[in-house]
Symmetry: D2
């Protein structure tokens, strides 16, 4: 189940220690001009070393688009295949891990699920996977911009990441995301509500432990008299309500207000100290400390949050389009 | 998109003011005995009037199962069709609403999406819809029990619902859910992670504004050194870890520990006082107060949370089953 | 997998000997007026006794629509749930079959698949199932007519069905179907080609053994110089080609010409004589002759072919709609 | 919709004139050893120049597998990404085609669907696409062999392909496919019947105009007394029936007999003579003859038929596996 979306669909492949990551973005509408610099810009935002409290700089991620565009970089409506070579995989680093389950990683669960596991790296569970999500999201955003839909996320610091890094520790964090320009009507009741799809997308990002939209967790401690959004009088369809407790979604359908949600990240697994764990035989063992990690994964996750939001909104746009009463083509 | 699940699939229909609610549960394994009393028990837990601070008692919900069972109530592996008649729809109540958008409801967004709306009731956006979810979930649970998987949710009060009810107001609430007996290995990376599917299911429930699992939102304020689960030594596969920060899921796959998540509900729309709103022409208007509502929707949502969790776990069981290396049938 | 379609989706339930057949048609666009007489008309065409060489007259099929329509029978865009009670199931007839596999039926394969089987009737394998397909198709056709798309099938006799009936035997037959008014552009490369979806739909009908479109099987014995369709000069987009070897589909996408295909039906299982078979223990046994059957199943299948074609075309219309470049809604 | 399958899923990308073809095969069970020579063998069978009456020899197709295997070529259960570079695309050949619709190709329908088209080649409609299908199918077959399932297709000549080639013409042809070793029970009623999935898969292959299984089109001219398969007495589960009119499938579910079907191909478009057509403005124009083509596309399609059959059978195996009653893992 490495496919996300119904009509606008991203399917991905790649292990962190393998030759390449990559994906196929299927369902982009035809006629959209794609600027490679925009993809590179967002890949750069996601890259290790692009912020304080993140792991040291590595090689730039280079994406190669293999299909789906004209020679002028216009989408054809056909699937866009792409790969990002893994230039820095260094699987030799992982020899010490062979047959040992790293704590707070997915080694144990993958091994239990599939009956075998490639201990050379994080495999599909590595956050390396999100490089493909950013490529796809950065393509989709360029379509959304044509419709004046903009997606903007930001990191909300909690604990001091730089301080934690100095101690060989890590911290959690929050990413807030706002989406503007979404028309009323997106979202498919009752099982593909707009916020449900966002929740699935966001909680699928590595290290995410919670999702909330609008008033979110605070809602549980509010009264009904405090939480209703009232219509602006006179009615203004571009900003129909005078407050936004709902976070832009009512009954699972966008209401024309700004969409607003938060994503909560746990700290990255700390691996700067020897790790007491077990091996595949169930015997206790120790994994020696590894040289680098992100002090706060939420920082680099900002463009990942934006990219997954773009995939959701684009999919919902296509789904919503499909309802408009059909008229035979005029020639 | 009124279908939930990939192999174990629930498809539903029904408007709150129409003749009946109903659904088709497709993909139940054959050979499971279904006890109607268990379905009725959970319907009763969900029913208005079954707790303090909820709306007044109405007729019992009667489910009629139309297919998929032998005469001895054993599942055949074929789809289970069922209906629940709407005996208490009272659409005449709604005449005052014709063409007017109720605040904090989905009238406006449905109207914007579909271009027409049936103002006789909440339509598909009504929490009445969840009666079908409870029927389906109560069937699935009986299969899960055979495998010793148990799902148990409870309401965590926040504000005083009874007090709010007396003031014609309403309050939000939290539902905590624990799932025990889930083997390690459930969940499909990378886009159908177990907790992502739970997040989608739970946020699809009416009035839900947030989902968290394991350490949840607190994770964002924790250090890596505080949040890692360590293996129990000696290794015990039935309870492999000595703590459960992860909430039973690592890398999107169950790890053999208890699954633990919280669902946050906003207060029900307060409609015990005149509501200043607009009509479909954009003109201001007033909707008179309506006679009954739930002071806290989270109370009746407990069996709904359990039911949707059952649908997710059942689907993931079937997905995971399908990996086991194939052997030709021996005759 | 009792769901057909991607955006316009029919999910069905029901065993031939159970209380009711039924289904949920999800994804109908809003605003289409539905006339119940048209549904009844097509149900009547499908009904036993409605033609020569078919089994004796039974009660009329009565459909009850439970959701998805306004009080004026306008589609809401929400799922349309419906049931058709089984008034004539007579499961007592089937006592002689308990534990015995009828020849040329699906008893054996269902038993091998599910490990249990309800020998009271044909279960899901009965052609009774197609009553739900005709209900759904008869709704969808009313939408297609608005777009001037018409679907018209006819039975092409092969052997003499009436003569076979007198001998207690049965015959196969062919149904030809023509679809007019389909604009160029329907069909989703590369795995949801228009004709592939038609092939899947048609071969899913009981007793169908072959599907061909355009020149069909004859193509295999033609030369390239004989089989190319040439553009009409001057170009006329409403009938772009001067011949129709392609059957209205090129590269899996409709080309604006009439869509034309044939469906081949095998004879109904003959059961007017004692049937030598085995039981679930593998022991030889005999099933006594049964009193009625269709001499030619293709005759009653005509509206079923049309209905499944309507579901395919409607689904493809919605899929194709979803590509049209998005414009923000003007208010 | 460039994805085929439900649990075993192939998603593809690539235009014939682009940099590479490729795909992602998702859902292979873990633990299967993959031999690259077998993939190369089937690619060689599909390659131009590998038989009489096919176009002249080009470079070998080289597949690069980028993920999903251990260093020992054992499947991990994760998606298998692969690419096949287009070394022989020669898009300069196509300059003469700019803006002109080739007859009997999909240029016109793609242009009508997407509103733009890349006239440098056949794009997604080119049979070049099937190179990815053969890669995927050749991987899946190695899993099926472990379960003793074998797929074997052969070309059945109709007209003389070599003679046609000498005249600059082309001929149609038939491919017969037999699948042995399939246990009873595969196929998902009622809309994913085994033969319906095969029909969809086969008619999706370029130039296919008809599909039949078992008695096929002949069934329409048979009597019921001639077409029933009788159980072998004494019962032998490995070959349960004494004839195979059904082609190995009853009620959409495999019955343990050999699966047997035919696929009918039309002749390749003849392009050895000037082609009178129109351009995107609707004006008449001429396309000059092109230097090479297949005299009979059915010859090279044999491994494509086998590959798509493997994808269907593998998917149905996983679907069927998922029913087996769940037992908690023993440790």
């Amino acid at each position: 189940m490495n496919t996300f979306g119904r009509l606008l669909r991203l399917t991905t492949f790649g292990e962190s220690h393998g030759k390449a990551m990559g994906g196929i973005l299927d369902g982009m509408p035809p006629g959209v001009e794609i600027n490679g610099d925009i993809i590179r810009h967002h890949l750069e935002r996601r890259r290790p070393g692009s912020g304080e409290g993140v792991s040291k700089r590595r090689e730039e991620d280079k994406v190669e688009i293999l299909s789906g565009l004209t020679s002028d970089n216009i989408t054809l409506g056909t699937p866009i295949g792409f790969i990002i070579p893994n230039t820095d995989s260094r699987s030799e680093d992982y020899d010490a891990y062979e047959g040992k389950f790293r704590l707070n990683h997915a080694d144990y669960t993958y091994y239990k699920k599939y009956g075998l596991h490639d201990f050379r790296g994080g495999g599909r569970a590595s956050a390396r996977e999100t490089v493909s999500w950013v490529v796809a999201g950065s393509i989709v955003r360029q379509w959304l911009w044509v419709s004046r839909i903009a997606i903007d996320a930001k990191y909300i610091p909690t604990l001091d990441a730089a301080q934690a890094a100095r101690n060989g520790d890590s911290v959690g964090g929050i990413v807030n995301c706002k989406i503007t320009g979404v028309p009323a009507g997106l979202g498919e009741p009752v099982f593909d509500k707009l916020h449900s799809r966002l929740a699935a997308a966001m909680t699928g990002i590595n290290a995410v432990k919670a999702f909330e939209y609008g008033d979110g967790t605070r809602s549980a401690r509010m009264k009904g008299s405090e939480s209703a959004d009232k219509f602006r009088i006179p009615y203004d369809p571009s900003t129909p309500f005078s407050s936004n407790h709902s976070g832009g979604v009512a009954g699972g359908i966008s209401n024309g207000m700004q969409i607003n949600f938060n994503v909560y990240f746990k700290p990255a697994p700390t691996i700067m100290q020897p790790m007491e764990t077990i091996d595949t035989e169930g015997n206790p063992c120790v994994i020696p400390p590894k040289g680098r990690h992100d002090a706060c994964v939420a920082i680099r996750a900002v463009p990942v949050v934006e990219s997954m939001a773009a995939l959701v909104i684009g999919d919902m746009l296509r789904l919503n389009q499909s309802y408009i009463p059909f008229e035979p083509y005029e020639e």
